[in-house]
């Protein structure tokens, strides 16, 4: 059974896709997601082998989503779209396959064969990644895209990843690892990324530790391991 996730903002489209997948008898459906935020969370949590991904979704499109997932956890991607204007782009992004809505069962069978081949071959998908300039954040039940230059720092704890900046603190589904790899945010501690543009002062402490003060006066710890990199970056 192939562990799979359906991502589509329309309820009926998710239901139909689920029914079609069930008819093939090849898939274990881990869940369905109504938007990219839910999808990032589900992918990071459930590690699906393949996702059926709608292109047109609110706030973050299917393409945006791919840029926010860790390469090591990247499932195989089958795009599902109502209109073929995205087809070309989908191939550029080296997705495994794409399906047009309404999906024909025969066409789905073909996709299944491709998925199986890829899973057996263990071939790696590589997506061109673009640097993130806006980070999707949840505040008060609303998803908004926060400009990177407004962010002071990001830190993770047991409850998740917190984005601090612009006078507010919000929550994101993106991991520190992805944020570090795809943006100009810099690691200063196992649990902290800082925006170098927002650093006001660095105080060196005993035992090779340090402390950053951001422009708004917040203090972040710098661990020994990352201090040298920070020094190189800021050349001091």
């Amino acid at each position: 059974m192939i562990r799979t996730l359906i991502i589509d903002d329309e309820q009926h489209a998710r239901d139909e896709m689920a029914a079609l997948l069930a008819d093939t008898g090849e898939f274990e459906l881990l869940g369905t997601c109504a938007n990219a935020m839910e999808a990032i969370k589900a992918i990071n949590r459930d590690h699906p082998e393949v996702i059926f991904l709608d292109v047109n979704m609110p706030v973050l499109s299917g393409f945006d989503l791919l840029g926010m997932i860790d390469q090591e956890r990247m499932p195989y991607v089958i795009f599902v779209t109502a209109y073929d204007e995205y087809a070309l782009k989908a191939f550029e992004e080296k997705t495994l396959d794409y399906l047009l809505k309404p999906v024909e069962p025969d066409r789905l069978e073909m996709a299944v064969r491709k998925i199986k081949g890829a899973l057996e071959g263990g071939s790696q998908q590589s997506f061109e990644t673009h640097p993130l300039t806006r980070i999707p954040c949840v505040t008060a039940n609303r998803v908004r895209l926060v400009d990177l230059n407004q962010i002071e720092y990001v830190h993770s704890d047991l409850s998740g990843v917190h984005v601090v900046g612009g006078g507010t603190e919000s929550y994101t589904e993106l991991t520190l690892k992805i944020l570090e790899a795809r943006s100009s945010l810099t690691r200063c501690h196992r649990q902290y990324l800082v925006n170098p543009d927002q650093i006001d002062e660095i105080t060196l402490l005993e035992h090779g530790l340090a402390e950053i003060r951001t422009r708004s006066g917040r203090r972040l710890p710098v661990s020994r391991r990352y201090l040298k990199r920070l020094k190189d970056l800021l050349s001091f």
């Binding site: 329309e10 009926h12 489209a13 239901d15 029914a19 609110p58 109502a82």
Partner: protein, 562 residues
């Protein structure tokens, strides 16, 4: 007293000069004297005119013992009055020097007094201009008193400078009164003649302008109904009636469309163009004029045609000749220059109007075409998503699926309506409801719709596809772009004598259209403004993150509350 009469007789000479002067180009600036100062060239011209008049005054003078009675002052004073102190003094100096060379008892006094008289005229000119009464320099009364004052001055100068004083006194006693009267009257008559001529010229100009505008008005009204045989006939009759030429003909490129006036027994509508002149006007795209003398006009249709001269003016639409307007006069009648320029002007005006109406037509076609494009653009994505939704619904709720298919077919049937048609608000709402039923099925809980319609507006008439693109935008660029639920409010009400339809959503995602996203709305606005005028159309307000509100303003139907 006899002397005064003789001098007055000489005035006839000045009146002839004044008349000739009024025909010269130098007269033209007089008309605008109140506004602009004279140019250097005109001043030079005036200098020669008035110096000649003044010197002629000396020659026409009557020699008396040791002196003379003359009308030299008129030229100098008028030069000063009309051209200012500098011109007046210059003319006076010229004429005074000339008089001095002739010698005599008063020779020296004349040499001094004539420039002074010119200067006096000039000072009066300056005074009037400074007080903002420049128009008064052409006032005969002003000329009368200024000249009389100038002559009194001259008499005083003669008495002061001429020796022996006794002879001078005797002379002055004799000539003072006749010269003061004659010169004053001469200046006044000269100016009054100038003024009358200027007035009559203005009147002719005004009458001609009024006539041209009246013809233009009537012709433009006709032309807006199209350029065809019927309107051409009416246009020909209007032109003939207003210009009173012998006959007027209008042709297209091949045949006579209309003819009115002398010779209509053989110049008839529908006959192919025979006149070489008309053919040349079409071929060479220029005005052709046969004055009947140098270039004889001979009717190509009949040897007995009474028409003797003709003007053929091409009628153009965007550089291309589409016909000719012809003005004719019979053999015994002169072709007036006035009518010649009027004919050419009218053809230019009509050509301009033709270009404009073809441009308007094209613009309208463009709007229609754009609208067709928009209709075609929305379809695929919406259609396939809808079909996908219905396929899913069939599994769980076949009745609901049947209902959705009926809405889909209603929606597409309404979409097939011709975009130039009109629809009532009721019909537009029916179209929109089918669309919204489908979108509600697609988006489920995420989409709520709220109607608030003034029932008395259901008969409100508007172009088809006024409402649908606005609502589609509210979903496509509004509610479909947010995570979570939203509501779309559709309201119709009367406001300040207008009918207002509002489409509001609480997605708050409005962004000024950068590419094609705003195209649909732009076209709706353009069509409403085309149809009803600039007061009406589409207006967008928004508050980022909160709401977007599109208001459509239409003329309210009569009846109902306001």
């Amino acid at each position: 007293m006899k002397l005064a009469f003789i001098l007055l007789q000489h005035l006839a000479f000045f009146l002839v000069v004044a008349y000739l002067f009024s025909k010269s180009p130098a007269f033209r600036p007089m008309v605008r004297l109140a506004e602009d100062p004279l140019g250097q060239r005109q001043k030079l011209f005036l200098y020669f005119i008035f110096a000649s008049i003044s010197i002629a005054g000396t020659y026409f003078g009557l020699s008396l013992e040791g002196g003379e009675a003359n009308t030299r002052a008129i030229g100098a004073v008028l030069a000063g009055l009309i051209g200012g102190p500098f011109l007046g003094t210059a003319v006076g100096l010229t004429s005074g020097l000339h008089s001095y060379t002739l010698g005599g008892l008063t020779a020296f006094a004349s040499g001094i007094s004539t420039p002074m008289e010119g200067l006096l005229g000039g000072l009066v000119h300056l005074h009037l201009v400074r007080r903002g009464q420049a128009g008064k320099v052409l006032n005969p009364g002003v000329a009368l008193f200024t000249t009389m004052a100038a002559e009194v001055l001259q008499m005083l100068v003669i008495l002061a400078l001429s020796r022996p004083f006794d002879e001078a006194l005797l002379l002055v006693k004799k000539i003072a009164l006749p010269m003061i009267l004659a010169n004053g009257a001469g200046s006044a008559l000269f100016l009054s003649l100038l003024r009358d001529l200027k007035g009559s010229r203005d009147k002719v100009g005004a009458k001609f302008t009024a006539q041209a505008l009246s013809i233009a008005d009537q012709l433009l009204a006709l032309l807006s109904k199209g350029f065809n045989q019927e309107t051409a006939q009416q246009m020909a009759e209007i032109i003939r009636r207003e210009t009173k030429v012998g006959a007027v003909g209008i042709t297209d490129r091949e045949k006579i469309l209309a003819f009115s006036g002398i010779g209509n027994d053989h110049h008839r509508a529908g006959i192919p163009i025979a006149a070489e002149q008309t053919k040349a006007a079409i071929r060479e795209n220029r005005v052709i004029y046969a004055d009947g003398k140098k270039d004889p006009y001979q009717c190509a249709l009949s040897d007995n045609c009474p028409l003797g001269s003709a003007l053929a003016v091409p009628l153009r639409r965007d550089q291309e000749v589409i016909g000719v307007i012809k003005l004719y006069e019979p053999r015994y009648q002169l072709f007036l220059n006035l009518n010649r320029s009027l004919g050419e002007g009218l053809a230019a005006l009509l050509s301009h109007q033709l270009l404009r109406s073809s441009y308007d037509e094209q613009k309208n076609l463009l709007v229609q075409a754009e609208l067709k494009l928009i209709q075609a653009q929305v379809n695929p994505h919406f259609l396939f998503n809808t079909l996908n939704t219905i396929i899913a619904v069939i599994r769980t709720d076949p009745d609901k699926a049947r209902e959705l298919l009926r809405h889909l077919s209603n929606f597409f049937r309404k979409n097939l309506k011709r975009s130039g048609d009109l629809a009532t608000l009721g019909e537009e709402l029916d179209h929109v409801r089918s669309y919204l039923e489908i979108e509600e099925a697609r988006f489920g809980d995420r989409l709520n719709v709220d109607f608030e319609i003034d029932e008395s507006l259901l008969g409100l008439v508007m172009p088809t596809f006024t409402l649908q693109p606005v609502i589609e935008n509210a979903i496509k660029h509004g509610l479909a772009e947010i995570i979570g639920a939203g509501t779309i409010y559709i309201r119709a009400r009367r406001e300040n004598g207008l009918a207002v339809i509002e489409v509001e959503d609480d997605a708050g995602t409005y962004q000024a259209p950068s590419d094609d996203s705003g195209l649909g709305m732009g076209i709706v606005d353009k069509r409403l403004k085309n149809q009803y005028g600039d007061t009406y159309g589409v207006n967008i307000e928004f508050s980022p993150g909160e709401w977007t509100r599109v208001s459509i303003r239409l003329p309210a139907p009569s009846g109902g509350r306001s």
